[in-house]
Symmetry: D3
């Protein structure tokens, strides 16, 4: 599957924390940690476990820019 | 200013392409290119130019996870 | 690629309208028209043309519910 | 109330699963199941119950497109 | 229509700036200016003009919090 | 930090309700209550407590417009 989202950041799952319905998944992309908040159902569907390869997928319109 | 977004990815602006109202800004974060789509007004307000330091700011709930 | 988004609605592209940077793509899903707003770059990358099969991908947290 | 969101997909509520703060609501739109993640408060405010008519409301900019 | 979005901020349209596909609409809510970016199509569909009453509708999950 | 989001609505925290992973924070902006849904982690990181000054930060593309 190819998707329109401009950001497909490939890395390694380094942490998965499940709440009641929502889980936080942290992906190490080239030394940068990206945090995703997805449903527990998705974690199970994707078979996510620590150490596996996964991509953080983000639409360009969901990315803001900040400067100091 | 400190913000609730979980992802504040610091890097360098490598490209700015302005449309009529929306601009695409590419930030090199540790070798990973992150693309943001923001208003032209924001580009001017932030004084964004190529080569300057900037952060890609992304809410965890806007990040999806994909596996091959 | 398998993705965490809960909604992957398969259908047929029925319309593509390009602006300067953003394009509107309409997908007929089982008789329901779903409108996506993606970058022109994405339209070209995905090789989107009218009549082809494509899916509308939507995170559950981006779907609101309304009642009359 | 008329709203700017391009996608107002009318259907029938087929499932409601409440977590601690967030609920998953599934709406059958013409045979296509659309999943929304909204607050428990919203479920109660809207008086959502299985079998009732409801619409999935989605901004065009929150819809991505994917192809195989 | 009643909607699950937690924020329905009623005010007055004070400005509308149309681009090629996207328009910026500014709404004065009790002295606070809220800016929306919607499609030109939506502006026409809703018959938006300066001075009319309109609401800014925002999902709670799209609101971040910042402190100095 | 200066950010590209068009809406930075300064006000006072009037309520914080924590779930398992997600918290609802209500901010009184000039008499208008804005509700944010952020992670519990963010509430702790920002040191949010009732009565303190905080801003609701919202991208223009996440704001819809509705009329009666």
């Amino acid at each position: 599957m190819k998707i329109s989202a401009r950001n497909i950041l490939k890395g390694k799952v380094v942490d998965i924390v499940k709440g009641t319905t929502t889980a936080h998944v942290r992906i190490d992309v080239n030394g940068t940690i990206v945090t995703a908040s997805i449903t527990n159902e998705s974690v199970d569907d994707l078979g996510l476990v620590k150490g596996m390869t996964a991509s953080a997928v983000i639409k360009a319109s969901d990315v803001m820019v900040a400067v100091e």
